[in-house]
């Protein structure tokens, strides 16, 4: 019997745990339901701790970049401080200490918000540069976008009262139909991929090749 490789153990865990969680959903069985609830809570902990890999790797690359005076090595100092100072404060004194909250509210928050807002500029440049009605399909896409935009801007109500109802018609009828098709399609696609994962036929998530 070939020694049980880690890959086989991983596939077995995926099979057993996956079908147990699916089975548990359909059954009202107190012991099984609480066991499943505990397993799901345990998994939230494991999924969280996966950040160890990310933080460890970032630190390793940027320390090497620093020692070798690689490109932007000064910025590597900024990154290493940005990781380890809040991390140590957060673990030693929890997230509620004034310094952590200060950093979060006054530095991380504004930068994160500014990153989202960069999108508004890219939407404008994308609208001007790429949003062309080259084919009939892209004309429909453009028409729907313009009508919903006008529906969402209450000021257009002064020009013509019809913009708001027209915009919400597009959201309620063609949008609902199109989304329904995409949602059903994606749900089936997801089920198919999940079956392949649970039966060990899709090992991409383990970066392994199937024999």
């Amino acid at each position: 019997m070939r020694a049980l490789s880690l890959r086989d153990i991983a596939i077995m865990i995926t099979f057993v745990l996956g079908f147990f969680i699916i089975f548990e959903y359909f059954v009202k069985w107190p012991e099984v339901n609480t066991m499943a609830s505990n397993i799901t809570q345990a998994c939230t902990v494991i999924a969280g701790l996966a950040t160890i890999v990310g933080v460890g790797n970032l630190t390793r690359i940027h320390i090497r970049n620093l020692t070798r005076r690689g490109p932007n090595y000064l910025h590597s100092i900024v990154l290493l401080c940005a990781i380890w100072i809040p991390l140590v404060i957060g673990i030693m004194y929890t997230r509620k200490t004034p310094s952590y909250v200060y950093l979060y509210n006054n530095v991380y928050g504004p930068i994160s918000n500014a990153f989202f807002a960069v999108l508004a500029f890219y939407i404008l440049s994308g609208a001007y540069r790429a949003f062309r009605a080259r084919t009939f399909d892209s004309f429909i896409l453009m028409l729907a976008a313009i009508l919903v935009f006008l529906g969402n801007a209450p000021v257009t109500g002064n020009l013509w009262a019809g913009f708001d109802p027209l915009g919400s018609w597009i959201l309620n009828v063609p949008n609902t139909a199109g989304y329904r098709g995409v949602i059903i399609g994606t749900a089936i696609g997801q089920t198919v991929l999940a079956v392949r994962v649970l039966l060990g036929r899709e090992l991409g998530y383990l970066a392994q090749k199937r024999e």
């Binding site: 928050g109 989202f116 807002a117 404008l124 609208a127 062309r132 801007a153 109500g157």
Partner: protein, 279 residues
């Protein structure tokens, strides 16, 4: 050919135009007219119709990146819930929820004026409670629905059995209404709360996520929805407590028209260029 040059305009000029147009309402307040939309009104009526002592679970799952879009919705909803005789259980399934919940209480740049609890005369642990952050996304929704005492302690680490409000909220069967103000995991909330247990679910969502949720509103799996800043501005109108939402609506109006204009101009130049080319 100048047409070709204008169409190939360096995007940075567009960014400048957007900055200027967005700054106009800062100099001349326009105060453009606004009427509450159907979905926002439905959310308001659902909360108004709740009998006293009903348990309302509200998930503060905002993230700083969405800025005022979700924060103003959460502030408006929280103000309405606290001014009603309800049991308000607040929880956060998002990593940035706790920080932004504190910001909502203290007031902030993206949050608007603070939600001062004294005004509503509510007692912590009796009328409202905050259970803090629960990681795990969908797995956490499923566990919290099955056992609302899963955190064992509230955000200040006081055991749940010392908080009278939690006697009313053991699991999802005790919830009269569930609300989530979130930037993601919409299908998961619907699947684990509304579809699985039939609980009434209201969502505060960013503009980017609204279209894909309309099919769920059509089937009733989603009772009502606040969409982006417009939803917050309208809700502030309904509860007659103006906040940051109403203030920002002028900028939103002008900049949306600017995008429509740029799509139209971009296409006119494109087709003019192609016709010129063929001639």
């Amino acid at each position: 050919m100048t047409l070709r040059k204008i169409e190939r305009l360096d995007p940075r000029y567009l960014f400048l135009i957007l900055l200027v147009v967005a700054s106009i309402p800062m100099i001349i307040p326009l105060g453009l007219p606004m009427k509450a939309g159907a979905l926002t009104e439905k959310a308001y009526l659902i909360i108004e119709s709740l009998p006293p002592e009903s348990v309302v679970v509200i998930d503060a799952c905002m993230s700083a990146g969405y800025g005022p879009e979700l924060q103003t919705q959460f502030v408006a909803l929280l103000r309405h819930l606290l001014s009603r005789p309800l049991k308000v259980v607040i929880v956060s399934f998002g990593t940035e929820g706790p920080m932004l919940f504190d910001m909502a209480l203290k007031g902030g740049l993206i949050s608007g004026p603070k939600v001062d609890l004294e005004k509503y005369g509510k007692v912590y642990g009796v009328d409202w409670v905050y259970l803090g952050y629960i990681p795990g996304g969908e797995t956490a929704f499923a566990s919290f629905a099955r056992d609302s005492w899963m955190t064992k302690v509230d955000d200040e680490n006081t055991p749940l059995d010392e908080l009278p409000i939690m006697q009313y909220c053991k699991n999802i069967d005790d919830w009269s209404l569930s609300i989530t103000v979130t930037g993601g995991s919409f299908e998961q909330y619907i699947a684990q709360w509304s579809a699985a247990y039939g609980t009434t679910l209201i969502m505060g969502v960013p503009g980017v996520s609204a279209p894909r949720l309309f099919p769920y509103v059509a089937t009733g799996q989603l009772a009502a929805m606040l969409v982006s800043l417009r939803g917050a501005g309208e809700y502030e109108l309904l509860i007659k407590q103006p906040g940051l939402g109403a203030q920002l609506m002028d900028i939103l109006n002008l900049t949306q028209l600017l995008i429509v204009l740029s799509v139209i101009i971009g296409n006119i130049l494109y087709f003019a260029g192609r016709l010129g080319g063929q001639k």
